[in-house]
Assembly symmetry: C2
Homo-oligomer: 287 residues x 2
Amino acid sequence: MPELFKQMTVCGVGLIGGSLALIARRAGLAKTIVGLGRTRKNLDIAVKRKLIDRATRDPIEAARGADLIVLAVPILTMRRVLEPMLPYCAPGAIITDVGSVKGFVVRELEPLIAGKMSLVAAHPIAGKETAGAGAADPDLFRNRRVIITPSKTSTPAAIKKIETLWKATGARVEKMDPDSHDKILARASHLPQVVASALAAALGGEKVAGKTPTEYGAGGLRDTTRIAASPWEVWRDIFIANQAALATAMKRFEIAYAEFQRLIEMGDLDRLEPLFNRGRAMRERLK
Amino acid sequence: MPELFKQMTVCGVGLIGGSLALIARRAGLAKTIVGLGRTRKNLDIAVKRKLIDRATRDPIEAARGADLIVLAVPILTMRRVLEPMLPYCAPGAIITDVGSVKGFVVRELEPLIAGKMSLVAAHPIAGKETAGAGAADPDLFRNRRVIITPSKTSTPAAIKKIETLWKATGARVEKMDPDSHDKILARASHLPQVVASALAAALGGEKVAGKTPTEYGAGGLRDTTRIAASPWEVWRDIFIANQAALATAMKRFEIAYAEFQRLIEMGDLDRLEPLFNRGRAMRERLK
């Protein structure tokens, strides 16, 4: 593949950032790949695994000459990470990210770069249980979705380059506006997290007749609460950054749950059946 | 193992009833095993697979001489299935069942048999995706929990026999009172079903920007809604039979969810973190 970038600087060489760096390096998409990180240990792994060409903990050194900055850091820290780097980037550099919320990222970053550079925010819907450069995986994005959310400063040329970068990962790349992305992910990802966490929180710690009810659960309980074990650090940022869309999605669940509650308490099977089967139909389509 | 029963009659030779019959036959726990069913096709499979010695669709024929009746039919139909059989059972016969709600079963069946026979209600917490005699599996109950819920007419000798029967399946057998069972299962099984169904129902059918949000979900959405695909026929009976305990469990979830909702809307991370981590801790203990 032709070289897309002279220097790709990846801020946060973890699972997502490290995997993308590895793929870009192997595909020859960037002449040099620089990793910016906080801990020497993780950066050493990234260099040793050849995810990146060189590593630094200095944002200015990382930015110097970069024509692509990939923000693979928590959503709420993106602005703080990017701001000191901007004066040192190459003219017309492209800024992208991998955050799971897009409206917030666009609103935070566009004012910083307007007129000078191009922001092309993106969200790869992929992940696994493990974290860090050691978990980086060249197949992480294969057949997964990557959503690119163009905004005001996204030039057609910059969008094209970010699309090419993501297509090299084997992902299915599509574009949509940041707010639609956030509404969709609030329903498909953020709401299920809150529901699973609330279920686990409701059941946690309670004793019935001296016994722990959750020990009597089978696969249903385990599946339904699995993601409740997700780390707070990831979700904290999403709860803040996608607050509005998540609140709307939560309202939809609140209404459906209250309807189940009302119909079960009334023993109204005639109305409960179509509601239950609406859920069944959704799940059948997901298979 | 010594013969426990002269004739074991299994009403409903499906996954659970068929598996239990198969295990009892192989272990020589009953001299004769009779299967009562509604459809000739399923009974033919049960005979062919040697789950039972003989099959019938006639309740009186099935009852004649039985000193053990196993009700492996939907909870709400147990009374209707058992009543016409009772005059034909052996004197002092034991009646047991495999339903997922116990207080309701005890209240329905005890008045029918008081003074004549012994009810020992039981609940094997086991299952799989497939149904019918064709799915019967001698390892279905291995290392799973079986809860026996003695009630007024349960004689010590009858309890002992039902315990021996279930121990032969490789299950972990324990006893508790019917109401504690129902409160525990409301939390460990019935509430997760309602939550998963309500989530699937809330998300089903909605379009955002012309797209179907659920198509953008990853493993989290799939896990959290997996049991929403369960059959209505199973859950209808549980929603009715365990209404009171389920309503209490649903209230607990309602409170936890409302607290998530309030704290996310307020952006109150300080209070959200311990609540989220209460859910994490519950899920970690489940592993």
